[in-house]
Symmetry: none
Subunit: 491 residues, 2 copies
Amino acid sequence: MQAYEELMAFQRQTEALGQVAGRLGWDQETQMPQGAAPQRAEEMGAMEAVLHARRTDPRLGEWLAAIDDDALDAVGRANMRILRRDHARHVKVPADLATALARTTSTAQRAWAEARAADDFAAFRPVLEEVVKLKREEAAALADGGDLYDALLQDYEPGASGAGLQAMFDAMRPRLVALRDACMGAAHQPAPLAGSFPAQTQMKLARELARRFGYDFRHGRIDKAVHPFSSGSGLDVRITTRTSEEDPFNCIYSTIHEAGHACYEQHIAREYLLTPLGRGVSMGVHESQSRIYENQLGRSRGFTAWLHGRMEEIFGPLGMDRDAFFATVNRLQKGYIRTEADEVQYNLHVMLRFDLERQVISGTLAVGDLEEAWNARFEADFGYPVDKASNGCLQDVHWSVGLFGYFPTYSLGNVFSGCLFKAMQGEVEKLDEDLRAGDTSRATAWLAEKVQRHGGLYEPAEVIERACGFAPDVEPLLEYLESKFGDIYRL
Amino acid sequence: MQAYEELMAFQRQTEALGQVAGRLGWDQETQMPQGAAPQRAEEMGAMEAVLHARRTDPRLGEWLAAIDDDALDAVGRANMRILRRDHARHVKVPADLATALARTTSTAQRAWAEARAADDFAAFRPVLEEVVKLKREEAAALADGGDLYDALLQDYEPGASGAGLQAMFDAMRPRLVALRDACMGAAHQPAPLAGSFPAQTQMKLARELARRFGYDFRHGRIDKAVHPFSSGSGLDVRITTRTSEEDPFNCIYSTIHEAGHACYEQHIAREYLLTPLGRGVSMGVHESQSRIYENQLGRSRGFTAWLHGRMEEIFGPLGMDRDAFFATVNRLQKGYIRTEADEVQYNLHVMLRFDLERQVISGTLAVGDLEEAWNARFEADFGYPVDKASNGCLQDVHWSVGLFGYFPTYSLGNVFSGCLFKAMQGEVEKLDEDLRAGDTSRATAWLAEKVQRHGGLYEPAEVIERACGFAPDVEPLLEYLESKFGDIYRL
């Protein structure tokens, strides 16, 4: 299998270069001096040009034609599954369109940031119209006459479909709305956390929390950034967090969330390093790891009991007992911002985006009508009007950089995390006792063994089903949420 | 001149990718988690393969053949001078060898750091043997039957030769040895600095000193590293330094030294950004800037008078007056470490390395005999034996990363700095008065105007001659040293 060996050697360098490009992004957000921005744009452009040339290298087609997948072992076949899919995608999109998309989305991101700062959707509208026009062209090139939105989805969640996600959301919506209304209308309401929490102490706690969730500092580091993220695969997976002196939960749960993403990458089998299998298999599975670390483990009654004690040790008295603290951590609030939403309302924010972006891509909603549609939908879903565009349709960066089809993977990740937690509860002994001691090691080891180590070996839904022993379904997440929040709000 | 435009557009991306590779090196020394080393080696290898492919791209030869240099302006001709020379060199080195060198030296650097920490040359020896083997292969590929060492020299100092450097060292050695012996034997000996100097305060002072020497933090940053260095060109030029609580001069003069390198890169004309002219023209000219910042300016009677006052403000009384402090800063001491050597003995350390590395590259000295040869030579030159490998042949990083031919450019830089200082004294008014006030602005502006802004426009010796009005020669440096140290030691 000489063609396979050559292809994998070529791909190994491509993967390494992809890691370098990712590292530049990390540097830009954490280390780079401000005046370097124009030069960095040229550096990133040059790296993108190199990566694009490799993804469309004519030798790829020759290797793929020469390789007989059936002659390979399971790992080889999985590599080929990913390489063939990526290659088919890259040959379908004309080079001119790919270039136009790269150029437009890079300009659009800056235009979005300016429009968001000025709360001015009208200023962003023509730019977004151009992005949408190009993404629809790309979707048409990819869809081969099929559904445009489904074609885009495959970039983030191979195997998913708009119809399947619609069914998932339809099953979730009434029960989440009922739960939200019951919690918001309950007589018993958790108190907010009061006090001031020094940023440096929060960063020390962040390092401890990352360690407690299994993040390996020999292969990573934590820095501050405006928006928390995880970056890199394999032996160098870095995370960022942020601090707010009034709200330590922002730092704490951003850190645990990003540690979940990072642990997934760190725990992928070493033999897959710098191969197509050496990265998380999909956005949905990635999000299942970050969300189960953050929510089912990090916001559990057990772990918050430990966290309450630890926070009182390092910050002083919190003015509430463990039970009240558990409720405070999980408290529902009104709010416009998806990334700050509690577990119950989070998926309602995603549904709004999913419906609107499907209409935009199908062509039934014009970009010019997007702000009005967002605002009407938000008020219908949440019961209060959007006050400004930065709290509405300009709040997320995704659409400006062309990420149509990305949003629903957040909810899919939540659904997967619900399934995984149900299975974990059946298999990991003394889970609650461990969490009360601030010990996540058995829980995270179960995830590493069942999900993380496989990297891209299985298709997304398959890795979840193999881990759980049942097909992914919304029921475990909904039952978990109804039980947990029914308890907190004494419903 | 379509071919010239196309070549320069291609080269711009290559320069940008070169900056990315440099940034990875910076990351490795300042930020990278230790366990990432094996992956980083592959990332560096992949970047090196990309750069090598671009440097040997067949289109380069076509463009070079199509371009009539005489039809270009002076900037165009200078670009072509560098591009034609680089192209001639790069086509000679096989891609496999370039990739092997990148991968091996990245691993070797880590091995060197570990061996140095353990004072164990034997542990490093096989790694260094591999580096030397590959460097000799590279030199043979480049030399076309000529001298191997001269071939490697061209990477650092175009136009230099081992024989020319030998003549330079021969002219310097007797007068430096005589001056060293006179100073060491003088009745009057400067006192050492006593006390403890908090690392954090040193880092604050380092930032102030960098600023005072014109370093621009909008386009740079300072971090700590084991071995201080400057990294990057154009809009992003970062420096590193180190601290020792007993010896603040280490941090102070490392910082000023690296600021000299970085200011050179920062002051190159903006129109040369990401072109072959947008980098310092040679290591020797680079070192002339770092050394004149560090020594002729930073260790002058004037500047040390200001530094004495500033250090007493931030660290408390130093227990000596300005004159004594000037002598202490410049004090000759026995010592093993090149980077800590005084101005008189510094070049003696370089001569030792120059002679040994010429022998290693010519094949007359085996790596297995290097430690013994170093120790014998050191005792002969300095009069006392090396006590451990980290004070001997493991003290410098250079050989581990394959930089054979780099060391003599340090002395060449000293010689250039002597010439530049002589010219500066004739042209910059109130130099001593400025330095006494801690103000280097007129001196550094003179260097920016005469040397730094030109980048690669002129050949190394030419830019020095144009700045000084006379051809580079050892005499100004030797006269400066004899005068300054004759004064300090009352000879």
